[in-house]
C-alpha cells in the first residue's frame, strides 16, 4: 500500500466520460474519489469495448480504465432520500466534479448555491461542453465535434488534401478538459486557507481544445497565416520535409534533426552499414542539405527502409538523435524501460480471475507513487460510504434496480 500525494483529499464525482479522467487522475494519486451513480449505473458502463465483447455494465473496459481507484455509491437523485444523502455526502467533501447540463442540479435544489451554503470550503468543478452560458449552450457535443470546433482537427491529417482532416486519438477533448479541471481544483484548494473558503470552477471543453493548438495559434496571431495539415508532422503555413518514414517490417519511424553537422557524419557511417552512405554523400554542407531538404528526405527514406523501426529508434538515440519508433501502446506492456520504472500496476480483476496491467499515475512521485485499484462494481461501496456519513444500516436508502452482474 502506497500513499499518493493527494491522500486525505475527499472528492465526489458525478461525471460522465467528459470528466471521469479528472476523477481517475486524482484517485490514482491517492484522493478518496466517491463516484455517484444512478440506480441503473453510470452511462459510461455502456461504453465498449467490453470484456469478451459481451456488453454488460460490469464488463466495460471504458469504465474499467477511466474509473480506477474510485468508490461507487448508488444514489437516486430523482428521489428526496437520494438528495438528502447527496447533500450529506458533498457536505463532507473537499471537492465535487460534475458534468451535468447547466442548471440541472440547481433545478433539483442540490447545485452550487445549496452545496456551498452547507459546505463553504467546497471546491466545485463543472466540466461542460460550452460552459454555463453563451450562444452555443444548446449545441450538441461529442468528441469529434469538439476536436473539430476547437481547431485541433484543422491541423491533423495527410499531405493529400482530398482526404478529410483527421480527428486524432480518442476522447482527447474530454481528457483535455479533465486536465484543466484538476488544475483548477488544485489551485482553488491551494488558495482555500488564504481566502477562507472554496470556490466554483467552470471549465468548458470547447475552451480547452481551442487553447491546445500550439503553432496554429501563433501563426495566426503574429502573421495572419493558416497552417496546412501534413502527413505525420506539424501542420505549417509552408510545406516542410517529411519526418515519418516506413521502416523494414511494416513499421514507421519519426526522425528529426538529421541535417545538423554534429550528427551528419555519424549518420553517414550508420547509412554505410546498410550500403547506402554514398546516396547521402551527394549532398554538401548543412546549408545545402537544408536547401535540398526534400531530396535529402527521399534518400533517408531509402536508408530507413533497411532497418526495423525499433532498430532505427535505438541506433538513432545511440547517435544522440531524437528519433523514435511509431509504437503501439501495447508495445510498452513488456518493455524493459517501463518495467524498470514500475510504470504499469498489476491490478487483479475478479471478472476475469487474473491481473491486468494498468498505466500507473503518469505523474510519478518518487517518494509516493500511489496505487491503482480496479474500477468499482456498481454500488460496491454504497453501504460503506453511507455508514461513514452516519447512516444506521436500517436508514440506508434502498437503491432501486441495481442490475445483478
Amino acid at each position: 500500500m502506497s500513499r499518493g500525494p493527494l491522500t486525505g483529499l475527499r472528492v465526489v464525482e458525478l461525471a460522465d466520460e467528459q470528466a471521469e479522467w479528472a476523477g481517475k487522475l486524482m484517485a490514482d494519486m491517492g484522493a478518496d474519489v466517491v463516484k455517484v451513480e444512478p440506480p441503473g449505473g453510470a452511462a459510461t458502463r455502456q461504453i465498449g469495448p467490453f470484456a469478451g465483447d459481451v456488453p454488460h455494465p460490469e464488463r466495460s473496459l471504458h469504465f474499467w480504465h477511466y474509473n480506477t481507484s474510485k468508490r461507487s455509491v448508488v444514489l437516486d437523485l430523482g428521489r428526496p432520500e437520494g438528495r438528502v444523502a447527496w447533500l450529506r455526502l458533498v457536505a463532507g467533501a473537499d471537492v465535487l466534479i460534475e458534468t451535468t447540463a447547466p442548471g440541472t442540479l440547481d433545478t433539483l435544489g442540490i447545485g452550487y448555491a445549496a452545496l456551498s451554503t452547507a459546505n463553504p470550503g467546497l471546491v466545485m468543478a463543472s466540466v461542460t461542453p460550452w460552459g454555463q452560458s453563451g450562444p452555443y449552450l444548446g449545441f450538441a457535443s461529442n468528441d469529434v465535434v469538439q476536436m473539430a470546433m476547437g481547431g485541433i482537427v484543422n491541423s491533423c491529417g495527410y499531405d493529400d488534401h482530398d482526404l478529410p482532416p483527421v480527428r486524432p486519438g480518442l476522447n482527447q477533448s474530454y481528457q483535455l478538459a479533465s486536465h484543466h479541471a484538476v488544475i483548477g481544483i488544485l489551485t482553488a484548494l491551494y488558495a482555500r486557507p488564504a481566502i477562507g473558503r472554496g470556490q466554483y470552477v467552470d471549465v468548458a471543453i470547447h475552451d480547452c481544445v481551442s487553447l491546445c493548438t500550439e503553432f496554429a495559434a501563433t501563426h495566426w496571431f503574429y502573421s495572419g497565416a493558416f497552417v496546412n495539415r501534413q502527413t505525420g508532422r506539424h501542420a505549417s503555413p509552408r510545406e516542410t520535409a517529411r519526418t515519418q518514414h516506413p521502416a523494414a517490417g511494416g513499421g514507421f519511424v519519426n526522425i528529426a534533426q538529421t541535417h545538423n553537422d554534429r550528427v551528419w557524419g555519424r549518420f553517414l557511417e550508420w547509412a554505410d552499414e546498410a550500403g547506402l552512405g554514398d546516396l547521402l554523400r551527394q549532398f554538401g554542407d548543412a546549408e545545402d542539405r537544408l536547401a535540398r531538404a526534400s531530396e535529402v528526405m527521399d534518400c533517408i527514406h531509402a536508408v530507413m527502409a533497411t532497418r526495423s523501426a525499433e532498430e532505427v529508434w535505438h541506433e538513432g538515440q545511440a547517435m544522440g538523435l531524437p528519433w523514435g519508433a511509431v509504437r503501439r501502446p501495447e508495445d510498452w506492456l513488456d518493455d524493459p524501460h517501463a518495467a524498470a520504472r514500475g510504470f504499469f500496476h498489476e491490478v487483479y480483476e475478479p471478472e476475469l480471475g487474473r491481473t491486468l496491467k494498468h498505466p500507473g499515475p503518469p505523474i510519478a512521485f518518487t517518494g509516493h507513487p500511489g496505487e491503482i485499484r480496479r474500477a468499482p462494481r456498481l454500488g460496491e461501496h454504497t453501504a460503506e460510504v453511507l455508514a461513514e456519513l452516519g447512516y444506521a444500516e436500517a436508514d440506508i436508502p434502498a437503491p432501486r434496480s441495481i442490475p445483478t452482474p
Binding site: 474499467w64 460552459g131 486524432p168 481551442s210 491546445c212 493558416f226 506539424h234 510504470f343 518518487t366
Partner: protein
C-alpha cells in the same frame, strides 16, 4: 488584479524549462499568480526565443526578444540571466532555492546534475523543495538518456499510431499535443506536490515521463489488447465505441476558398431522424441498409458518400447552425480565423485577450481556460525580455548590494 489576490500568490518557482512542455506547465501557474522565475542563459537560449516563430518583425529584430511564440507561452513570467555553467552562478542559484517552493526543468536527464544540482543537493539548501523533471523517457530506466521532442513522444507512446485512417500510414498529430499535455501534467504534478506539502510539510521529487503521460492517454487500447487480444488500431474519423453513424468529417464550401470541412456525428435514432428531415427525406435514406444504427454502421462507406454529397455544395458554418438547431451534433473544422473572429461562444467567454509586448506590439494571445469564481487568473503581463528581471531579483529578492552585483557581472555569470 494584483498578484496578492491571485490564488497562487506567494508561490515561487525556479523555471529552467524551455521549448514548450515545461513553459506550458508554468504558464498555467503564472496565470494563477505564481511567481515564475525563468533562469536563462545566452549560452543555452530557449528554442522558443530563437527557432520557434513566428518572429513578426524578423528573426533577429530584437535579438532574443523577437518571437511571438515565446510571448504566447511565457506571459506573466520573470526572467533572470544566469549561466549555470559558471561556478559562481551556483551561489546565486542556492540563494534563490532558499526562498523558492519548486524547481522545474524539461532538459534531457543529467543536465541539472551535471551542474551539481541533484534533488539531494537542492534539499540541503531548502529541505521542503519540490523538484519536477519532465524528460520524455523520465530520469530513471534504460532509455533515460534518450532525447525527445513532442512528436517523438507522440510516436513512441502510441498516440501517432492511433491517429489516421486504418488502411493508410498514421496521420499522427499535426502539432506537439504532448508538449501541451505534458505541460498540463506538469502543472498537476506541482499543484499535487503543493497539496501534499500543505498536509505533511514534505517536499518531493517528481520524475515525470512525457512518454508515460502519453501512454496513459491512449484510453482502452491497453485493456482491449490484454483482455480481448485486440491490437490497437486507427479508426479514421469513425467511432466504434460507442457506435455512431454517420460519424465523420465531410467536405463543404467556404467563403474564403480554403478547403473546408464539417464534422457530423449521430449516436442516437433521434439525431439520425433529425438529419434525414433536414436533408429533405431523400429516397436513399429510407433504404433498409440505413434503417437502424447497426445497419448504418455496417454500411458506413455508402452512408458517408451520401452525406458528403449533401454537404459538399453547402456553406460549413450555415450548415452547422442548421444541423445544431435541428438537434444534430455538428461542428465546423474551425481554423484560427474562425476561432478568433467568428465563434460566438469563444467571443462570449473572452478566450483570446490582447497583450501589448514592449517590442513586438499588441497581439492576440491564448487565454486561460479555467474560470475560478473567487480568485480568477488571467493574462497580465507580456513575456519577459531576456534577463529583464536580473537586477531586481538580485537586489530586491536576494538582497545583493552594488559590489556583489558588479562582481557577478564581472564574472560572466549573468550572461
Amino acid at each position: 488584479m494584483s498578484r496578492a489576490q491571485l490564488p497562487l500568490a506567494g508561490v515561487r518557482v525556479l523555471d529552467f524549462s524551455w521549448a514548450m512542455a515545461g513553459p506550458q506547465a508554468t504558464r498555467l501557474l503564472a496565470d494563477f499568480g505564481a511567481e515564475i522565475i525563468k533562469i536563462e542563459s545566452r549560452a543555452r537560449p530557449d528554442l522558443a526565443r530563437t527557432s520557434f516563430g513566428p518572429h513578426p518583425h524578423g528573426i533577429d529584430a530584437f535579438g532574443l526578444d523577437s518571437s511571438g511564440y515565446f510571448n504566447n507561452f511565457n506571459r506573466n513570467k520573470r526572467s533572470i540571466s544566469l549561466n549555470m555553467q559558471c561556478p559562481v552562478a551556483s551561489e546565486v542559484f542556492a540563494a534563490l532555492l532558499r526562498v523558492s517552493d519548486a524547481v522545474i526543468e524539461n532538459y534531457s536527464a543529467g543536465v541539472l546534475a551535471k551542474w551539481g544540482w541533484t534533488y539531494e543537493r537542492m534539499r540541503e539548501e531548502k529541505p521542503d523543495i519540490i523538484y519536477l523533471s519532465m524528460a520524455g523517457p523520465g530520469h530513471r530506466g534504460p532509455y533515460s538518456s534518450y532525447r525527445t521532442f513532442g512528436p517523438t513522444v507522440q510516436a513512441l507512446s502510441g498516440m501517432t499510431h492511433l491517429s489516421g485512417f486504418p488502411d493508410m500510414e498514421p496521420a499522427g498529430w499535426g502539432f506537439s499535443y504532448m508538449d501541451h499535455t505534458g505541460g498540463y501534467m506538469g502543472a498537476i504534478a506541482l499543484l499535487s506536490a503543493f497539496y501534499q506539502r500543505q498536509q505533511t510539510g514534505a517536499g518531493e521529487y517528481i520524475d515525470l515521463s512525457q512518454i508515460e503521460a502519453a501512454v496513459a492517454l491512449t484510453g482502452t487500447a491497453l485493456l482491449d489488447y490484454q483482455v480481448n487480444g485486440r491490437p490497437s488500431a486507427r479508426q479514421g474519423n469513425r467511432s466504434h465505441n460507442p457506435p455512431a453513424a454517420p460519424h465523420g468529417v465531410y467536405r463543404c464550401q467556404d467563403e474564403y476558398d480554403r478547403d473546408r470541412w464539417l464534422s457530423i456525428a449521430c449516436f442516437t435514432e433521434e439525431q439520425w431522424q433529425a438529419l434525414v428531415a433536414l436533408m429533405g427525406h431523400p429516397d436513399w435514406a429510407a433504404a433498409a441498409e440505413f434503417a437502424a444504427l447497426e445497419a448504418r454502421v455496417a454500411n458506413q462507406d455508402a452512408l458517408d458518400g451520401h452525406i458528403d454529397a449533401w454537404t459538399r455544395p453547402r456553406l460549413a458554418h450555415d450548415t452547422m447552425q442548421a444541423l445544431q438547431r435541428a438537434g444534430v451534433p455538428a461542428g465546423v473544422v474551425q481554423n484560427h480565423k474562425d476561432l478568433t473572429e467568428r465563434d460566438g461562444q469563444i467571443a462570449h467567454r473572452g478566450l483570446f485577450p490582447r497583450i501589448t509586448h514592449p517590442l513586438l506590439g499588441e497581439y492576440l494571445i491564448d487565454g486561460l481556460p479555467i474560470n475560478l469564481s473567487e480568485t480568477p487568473g488571467g493574462v497580465r503581463t507580456p513575456a519577459p525580455l531576456f534577463g529583464e528581471d536580473t537586477d531586481d531579483i538580485l537586489r530586491n529578492l536576494l538582497g545583493y548590494d552594488d559590489d556583489r552585483v558588479a562582481a557577478l557581472q564581472e564574472s560572466g555569470a549573468l550572461t
